[in-house]
Amino acid sequence: MQGITCKLLVIGAGPGGYVCAIRAGQLGIDTVVVEARKPGGTCLNIGCIPSKALIHAAEEFAKVARFAADDSPLGISVAKPKLELSKTMNWKEGIVGRLSSGVSGLLKKAGVKVVEGWARFRDGKTIEVATETGPQVIQAEHVVIATGSDAIELPVLPFGGPVISSTEALSLAEVPPRLVVVGAGYIGLELGTAFAKMGAGVTIIEAQHRVLPQYDAELTRPIAARLREIGVTVHTGAQAKGLSPDGDALMIGTSDGQTMALPADKVLITVGRKPATKGWGLDAIDLDMDGPFIRIDNQCRTSMRGVYAIGDVTGEPMLAHRASAQGEMVAEIISGARRAWDKVCIPAVCFTDPEIVSAGLTPEGAKAAGFEIKTGLCPFRANGRALTLEDEAGFIRLVARADNHLLLGVQGVGVDIAELSATFSVALEMGARLEDIAVTIHAHPTLSEALQEAAFRALGHPSNT
C-alpha cells in the first residue's frame, strides 16, 4: 500500500468538487480528487442533467400528442405518436456520458489526479480511500469536503419495490401507467409533470397546503393551473401512510382526516434531500455542525484548520451552481488569493411547466429584511413573444427598494424563463436600479421585454397597459 501526499484533496467530484479541483489544478496546486462513482455527482449523473433531458423529451412528446389530438390551433396534425422510453433513456445516457467524460477530460487537463473509491477520514489531514485495488492513504495539506446530498427516505415508505427515488425514476424503462409522487417540491413537480406528459396517470400528494410551498403563492399559481390542464391530480394537506397490504396502492391521510388509497404502479418519493454526512468519517474529525449541515464561514472554512466544505453538505440552497462557486472560491483561497463569499444572489430555477426563476429577495423576504419596497409585475399575456409561443401563463416581478430603487429581487414564472435567469442575476450583482432596467433596450419580440415592462410599472409609468 503506497501513500500519496498532495497539497489539496477534494472529496467528491460533483459540481462543487470537480470545479474546485479543476480550478486548483489550473492554479498549479497539486490536487487529488476522490470519487466513488462517476465524476459529475448528483447533478450530472442522477439530477439536473438527466431530469432536464427527460423533461425535454416529455415536452416534445406532449406537443406531438396535442397535434395528434387534432387540437392544435397551429393547424398541425400528425398520426398518433409513440414513445419508446428505453430509447429516450439511451439518449439521456449519451448526454450524461458525454458530459461525464468531459469532466474527466477537464480534470486530466488541469493535472488533477482522480482516485476512484470511497474516502474516509482518519484524521483531519489523512484520508483512506477504499479502491478496487485496496486501501489507498492520502495525506493532504488542505481537504475540501464536497460529499453532496442524498434523497430523503420516508420511514413509512422505504425505497425498494414500487417505492423509488428520483434516481430510479430517471432510469425507468417504461412509463408507469399510474405514478404517485410524494412531495410537491420542485423535483416531484418536474418529474411528475414529465411522466404525465409521457402518458402516466400522475397523482401528487403534498403535506402542505399548496404545491412548491417554498415559493410564494403568486409564483406557484400558474404551475397549479398547468398541472390541472395536463390531468395531474394534486392532494394537498395529505400524508403518506404507507403502501396498501398488496402493494399496489399508496395509502394517504387526506386534509379532512380521511384515509384514501391511491392506486400506484410506482411511488416516487421526492420529499427533499439531506446532506451526505455519513459514512466518510465525519466523527473522526468532529467538525462543528449547523443543524444537519457542516458549519462553514464566509470562506467555506470548517471548524478545523485546513478543512473546507462546499456544496449541499454545507446547507441551503442545495444547488449545483452554489457548490461550483464555492469550489472555485476555495481553490483560489488555497492558492493564496484573498477571497470571501460576497454573492448578492444565488438564482434558483424550477423546470416545472411553466418554469420558475427566483433571484434575490421576494417581496415578503425584502419586507422581513426591513426594506420599504416597490414592486412591478408584468404578465406574459401582455408579451407578444409569449403569445407566439402559445403560452401566456406567468409573469416577471421586480422587487426594489422604495427609497433608491435598488433592485433587491427578480422572480418570474413562464415558458422558457429559465434562460432569463442570467439577466436577473447580472442585474442584481451589478447593483442595478429600476431605472437601469427600464432604460436598457430589450430586444423585441422577446420574453425579456416583460422585465423592462415590470421595471416601468414599478416606476409607476407602464408603457403598455
Binding site: 477571497r339 460576497d342 427598494r401 433608491n404 430603487h405
Partner: protein
C-alpha cells in the same frame, strides 16, 4: 427702508487708523442694535465696533486685514422703517440731534468697546433667512451620500474582487453611483486618498498648500520681529546659573502661610536682580532711537514680560519694578498675564517697557536666541531649570542649574558690558541674599 452708513469711530486717543481683524457679520445678515459688527486692532488692543441701530447689512467697507482710517465708511445697513431720507451714520452726531431736513445726513456713532471687556451681544446676527440654504457642496456630491450604518455596500462583482485583492473593506469606500453604488472610479479615488485600512497602510505625499492671511496680532508681531531683526545687530550671551539656593529660598517663602499671597515664581527674583544690575549699568535700561541717534536712558525700570496668549505673543509691562518687592512683582505679573490672555489688557499695559524678559518655563530649552523688543537694547531669556551634576573640586554634586540666554543691541552695548551685566545677575541669583541687601 432707510440706508445708513456706519463709519469707523475714534477707537483711542491719537489713533488715526485701525486694522480690521474680524467681521462678525456678512452681507444679508439682520443685526440688532448693539450687536458686534466687527473687531479692529489698534496698536495692541482689539476693539469691537457695535451696531448703533438694527437693520440688514447691505455692504461691507473693508476686508479682514485692511487698515481702515477712522471716519471712513465701514458698513452700510438698511434699517427697517419708513425713513425716506437716506441717512449716513458717522462722526459725532446722534440721530436725535440730527435735523430731519432733506440733504443733511443724520449720523450715528457706534460706541467702541474693548474686545472681551464686556459680554458680547447675544447672537449678533439675528438670522439670515433671506439667504437660500447652502446647497450641497460639490465635494459632498463627489463623495456621495454617506452610507447608513450597517447597510451593505453595493458594488459590481469586479469592483468587489478588486477591493478584496487590495485588502480594502468596501464598507469604508464611499459610492458615487446610483443608489450609492461603488464604481471602479470610487475605488481609484479611495486608493489615491490613502485608505485607512489598518492592514495595508499606504503613505502618501500631500501636495495641498493652504493660504493663511497674516492679520491682527500675528501681523503686528511679524512686523515688530522683522524690524528688530533687520535693524538691530544682536549679540547673544549665554551663561549658566546655579539656582539651588534661590530655589530653596523661593520654596521657603512659598510654604509660609500668608493670606492673599501670590505664589512666587523665579521671575520676581530675576526682575529684582535686574534692577540691581541696572543700578550698576543704567545704559542697558534704554530705548535707542536710531533715527535721531539718541539713547533714552530711563530711570524707572519697566520690564516687559513676553507672554503667550491664545491670540499670539504679547508683552505686558510691569512698570517701575525698582519700586516693587518680589511680592509686588509676582502680583503684577499674574494680573497682567491674565489681562493679556483675556484680551483685556489696555494699551498702557502693553507698551512702555525699557527692558524685556522672555521665559518659556519648563519649555525653555537649553539655549535660545531672543529677539530684542525694539527699540529696547536688552532682553533676558530664561531657559529651563534642571538638576545637573556639577564638579565642586572633589566630586560631582547635584545642583539645580538654569541658563540665561540674553541678547543685546551691539550698536550700543559692547560684549564686555553685556557679559558684565549677565555676570552681575548671575552673582545675585546664586547668592539671593544679595538681592535684598542694600549697598
Amino acid at each position: 427702508m432707510a440706508e445708513h452708513v456706519i463709519r469707523l469711530p475714534d477707537v483711542g486717543e491719537g489713533v488715526a487708523e485701525a486694522e480690521l481683524v474680524e467681521w462678525h457679520v456678512k452681507i444679508g445678515d439682520l443685526v440688532r442694535a448693539d450687536a458686534t459688527l466687527a473687531a479692529v486692532m489698534t496698536d495692541k488692543a482689539t476693539v469691537e465696533i457695535p451696531s448703533p441701530i438694527s437693520g440688514e447689512i447691505v455692504w461691507l467697507g473693508a476686508e479682514v486685514g485692511d487698515v481702515v482710517a477712522v471716519g471712513s465708511d465701514l458698513v452700510r445697513l438698511r434699517a427697517p422703517g419708513d425713513g425716506k431720507t437716506p441717512t449716513a451714520i458717522g462722526e459725532q452726531t446722534s440721530p436725535q440731534d440730527a435735523p430731519a431736513a432733506e440733504g443733511t445726513e443724520p449720523t450715528l456713532t457706534p460706541e467702541p468697546r474693548m474686545a472681551g471687556s464686556e459680554k458680547r451681544a447675544e447672537a449678533s446676527p439675528v438670522s439670515n433667512t433671506s439667504r437660500p440654504a447652502p446647497t450641497a457642496s460639490r465635494q459632498q456630491f463627489l463623495h456621495g451620500p454617506p452610507r447608513p450604518e450597517g447597510e451593505k455596500p453595493i458594488a459590481a462583482p469586479a469592483v468587489r474582487l478588486r477591493a478584496r485583492e487590495a485588502g480594502v473593506d468596501l464598507r469604508q469606500v464611499p459610492g458615487t453611483g446610483p443608489a450609492g453604488r461603488i464604481t471602479h472610479e470610487d475605488l481609484d479615488a479611495f486608493f489615491s486618498q490613502g485608505p485607512t485600512s489598518a492592514r495595508t497602510p499606504i503613505l502618501r505625499a500631500r501636495t495641498s498648500v493652504e493660504a493663511i492671511k497674516v492679520t491682527g496680532l500675528r501681523r503686528r508681531v511679524a512686523e515688530k520681529m522683522a524690524l528688530s531683526s533687520s535693524r538691530i545687530p544682536h549679540i547673544t550671551y549665554v551663561e549658566e546659573v546655579d539656582v539651588t539656593g534661590l530655589e530653596a529660598l523661593r520654596e521657603a517663602l512659598n510654604s509660609r502661610e500668608r493670606k492673599a499671597q501670590p505664589r512666587l515664581t523665579l521671575l520676581p527674583f530675576l526682575m529684582r536682580a535686574m534692577v540691581r544690575a541696572i543700578e550698576d549699568q543704567p545704559k542697558l535700561n534704554s530705548v535707542f532711537d536710531d533715527v535721531e541717534r539718541v539713547i533714552h536712558q530711563h530711570a524707572g525700570v519697566n520690564i516687559g514680560i513676553a507672554t503667550q496668549t491664545p491670540a499670539g505673543l504679547m508683552v505686558p509691562v510691569v512698570r517701575n519694578v525698582e519700586a516693587l518687592d518680589v511680592w509686588g512683582c509676582a502680583a503684577e505679573i499674574a494680573r497682567l498675564a491674565e489681562a493679556a490672555r483675556a484680551g483685556t489688557a489696555t494699551r498702557e499695559e502693553l507698551s512702555g517697557s525699557t527692558i524685556t524678559i522672555t521665559s518659556l518655563g519648563a519649555m525653555g530649552g537649553l539655549v535660545t536666541t531672543p529677539i530684542i523688543n525694539h527699540p529696547e537694547v536688552a532682553i533676558i531669556g530664561v531657559n529651563k531649570m534642571m538638576m545637573r551634576p556639577v564638579w565642586d573640586g572633589s566630586a560631582f554634586i547635584p545642583r539645580k542649574m538654569m541658563n540665561l540666554s540674553s541678547s543685546f543691541d551691539h550698536r550700543v552695548v559692547d560684549g564686555w558690558d553685556a557679559a558684565m551685566f549677565v555676570q552681575r545677575i548671575k552673582a545675585l541669583l546664586e547668592t539671593p541674599a544679595l538681592i535684598f541687601i542694600e549697598g
